[in-house]
């Protein structure tokens, strides 16, 4: 413990070098911007800026990139709330309730909640990182395919109740998401599959962001255009203002969500440390669980503050968590850390169990920088909330085309292929129609995120066990997770049966 504190103190001396401090502030500001731009996201941001970092020493470079990563987690929430478009995959859960809040004229409340929850999530996770890195690295190491599948099933299970009351429509939506996630290349059989009409663009599969921006960006905009016309040209968005009184009231209301924030922080961190999971499933699970434990689950999807806090706390916590497998195992815990790993190669550092021993300056400088990046991000973010609110006052007739263009850029950026842009527009129109028919869209988005993680894990496990499902229940870690997943999965069913029985005998 004392030794850890000493190492951390050394880390802080690295962080407080003027050059590094500047890099953190610049990184946070850039990250917030990158995160707020739909489709750019931390992956692309870090990839684009990676070559710049050979100008500074490795420690400065990783501090800069980590600050971008961190800032992007904050920034992602901004466009989720203001425009209804997830700025990054990690912020998709934030749109579920952040957008309705903004439409009810409470964008300031949602933005404040997102910033504060992110800060708490980041702080809790970085403390966990500081003191419990080695034992958790071991958990990440022994986590195999059966455990991964159990975890993904748990994520699905927490979401079953997420759609409307219509179970059939929810299942339909999940199925569509799963089918779309199967398009592309199957690593287990080594063959392309579902390459529709032999269009080569489908070979790289359907990126999650294409579906999310299509449904939540374009679909949402079409929806708003309709509302706007029916509502006589008035948009509720502009009702938000920032005054001291309002801000204090917002903060007071935020106190009531502490349970969701703390739950999201711990959950996000633990999901984040598991290789390949990353911040997106973490934030989606946090949203699902926040709804399950909430006293007013029916408010979710219609502007519940807990629905903003839980995923925002979780995605920041997970981004810290995903640094752990990157540093100690050389395995990226998220797409962004995969790029950071590439950076470490350029700087001549070998990630792996020896890194903590061989390069303590680098590791502890990075950890200490996360404390600083967290603080600066929340300060920059809060300071800019009034600016964001002003942007919302832009007349909708001007805002709508800008959002549309941002969507198109967002669809093009991840893969740089026009095929994906067209696909996104189609998803937008289909998403709009499905919404008119009252199909819940969140389960489809969840399925396309978790499908590609769950499917290989399931098949790998079954190859190992020769097709026997017992493998999921007999292992130390996968057993308990699997049981929890099944309980969550059947909870709605049990509830229905229970209510019916009570009615019968009452």
């Amino acid at each position: 413990m004392l030794e850890t504190l000493g190492l951390l103190a050394n880390g802080f001396t690295v962080v407080f070098e003027p050059q590094n401090l500047m890099l953190i502030i610049a990184g946070c500001a850039l990250g917030i911007f990158i995160g707020a731009m739909p489709g750019l996201g931390s992956v692309n941001g870090v990839a684009i800026l990676l070559p710049l970092t050979f100008l500074v020493p490795p420690t400065g470079a990783i501090i800069f990139l980590a600050a971008i990563y961190y800032g992007a987690m904050y920034g992602g929430a901004i466009s989720s709330i203001m425009l209804g478009i997830p700025g990054a995959s990690t912020a998709v859960a934030t749109t579920f309730d952040g957008r309705p809040l903004a439409k009810q004229g409470m964008a300031d409340k949602a933005l404040t909640a997102a910033a504060v929850a992110s800060f708490v999530g980041g702080s809790i996770s970085v403390v966990l990182f500081t003191f419990f890195a080695p034992p958790l690295a071991h958990v990440a190491l022994v986590f195999g395919a059966p455990e991964e599948f159990a975890l993904m099933l748990l994520a699905f299970a927490t979401f079953v109740g997420l759609g409307g009351d219509d179970l059939f429509k929810t299942l339909f939506s999940i199925s569509i998401g799963l089918v779309l996630s199967a398009v592309g290349f199957d690593i287990i059989s080594g063959e392309p599959r579902l390459v529709l009409w032999d269009i080569t663009g489908f070979l790289h599969g359907i990126n999650f962001l294409i579906l999310a921006i299509g449904i939540y960006g374009i679909g949402e905009m079409l929806w708003t255009v309709e509302e706007h016309r029916l509502g006589g040209g008035k948009s509720m968005l502009s009702d938000a203002t920032v005054t001291v009184k309002r801000t204090l009231a917002n903060l007071r209301e935020l106190m009531t969500t502490w349970k969701s924030i703390v739950m999201g922080s711990f959950l996000g961190y633990f999901v984040g440390i598991l290789p390949a999971a990353g911040a997106t499933p973490g934030s989606l699970m946090a949203y699902g669980i926040a709804k399950q434990i909430s006293k007013n689950p029916e408010k979710f999807g219609h502007g519940a503050l807990d629905g903003v806090c839980a995923p925002e706390a979780a995605n920041n916590a997970a981004s810290t968590g995903s640094m752990l497998p990157m540093l100690t195992l050389g395995i990226p815990g998220s797409p962004t850390t995969a790029i950071l790993l590439g950076g470490m190669v350029i700087w001549g550092l070998e990630p792996g169990p020896r890194l903590f021993v061989d390069h303590p300056d680098f590791v502890w400088g990075l950890i200490a920088s996360l404390y600083a990046a967290n603080l600066f991000s929340v300060l920059i973010n809060v300071a800019f909330i009034p600016v964001f609110i002003r942007i919302l006052k832009t007349p909708f007739t001007i805002l709508a085309p800008i959002i549309f263009i941002l969507c198109l850029i967002g669809g093009y950026a991840p893969t740089q292929s026009l095929h994906d842009v067209w696909l996104m527009v189609i998803f937008g129109i289909v998403g709009y129609l499905m919404r008119k028919l009252d199909y819940p869209m969140a389960p489809a988005v969840l399925a396309i995120v978790l499908g590609p993680l769950a499917e290989p894990a399931l098949r790998q496990s079954l190859i190992i066990s020769d097709g026997s499902f017992s493998i999921f229940f007999t292992r130390t870690y996968s057993g308990p997770i699997m049981v929890a997943a099944l309980i969550f999965l059947f909870l709605p069913l049990i509830k229905i049966v229970y209510v019916k029985l009570r009615k019968q005998y009452a």
């Binding site: 050389g330 395995i331 350029i346």
Partner: protein
Amino acid sequence: MFKSYRTFTKLVCAIGASAILVGLPAVGHAWEPIKPVEFVVMAGKGGGADKAVRLIQSIIASEKMAPVPFTPINKPGGSGAEALVHLKGKTGDNHTLMFTLNSFYTTPLRQPGLGIDIATFTPVARMAEDTFLLWVNSDRKDINNIEDFVKAAKAKGSNWIMAGTGKNSEDNLLTDFLNKAYGLNMKYVPYKGGGKVAKELAGNNADSTVNNPSEQLGFYEAGNTKALAAFTDKRLPLFPDTPTFKELGKDYVYYMQRTVVGAPGMSKEAADYYRELFTRVFNSDKWQDYRTKKSLQGDLLTGDALMSYWKTEREVHRVMLKNMGVIK
């Protein structure tokens, strides 16, 4: 400092200008890229190929080797099929390059419908050949050489798990070789990416792997995993105590190319420019250092030599895939 930097720039410009003046009558107008060069990676972000491309990008930029930036674009779809089709579509383009691995041979062989003939692509430079070793977890105190390995794997039969990167990938070819050569029945489980495979071994979720050194290095240095034998011609400098399969009586050598390819029909001037550029990258301290650290082998190959290497390797892979029953 700025003053001295400016002086330096002036000096460089002067030298450059005089070089052009001197060179002008001899070579005519030397070709140079006039817009950013698209550097397609035939694999996903964060993998071995991607890391190498980002290193090359940083070498070109930091040593100011080219007047324009090189921008990596990942096209991992369909085991490289997407990247190959993309490059074919850029026929005649002088600003598109691709960084490739052995799926360069296997993907067109397995998917003839793509209509890809790699002999039409422009050979630029082979930057290295990556090597493969047979690895087990260090917890297996009973396994210290290939005989121990064969004994243990035989005892477990099809419950012996070999983790690798995707069905019919390089790892799968090597697993098939081991199964045949030693009469084993190891079960091949495909994972996404060599890093994941390495971790499955270190976490004891797999019994063995055939990782590249760069993928296992972190765990190896920490003492989590050990190498039993190498699929190389000679012992690797980083693993002096690990014998080759050749020494062990099985004449089997397999490498993974790390090569820069140009779009088909690239102009001769452009191809010459890129060959010269990548020769400089190859000879740079940073690339040589990377080669040493990652235990990369294989000399620089360019132009016709590279093309004939491709043709040989393509036939080698055709035979291997036939033997596996993947193609007819």
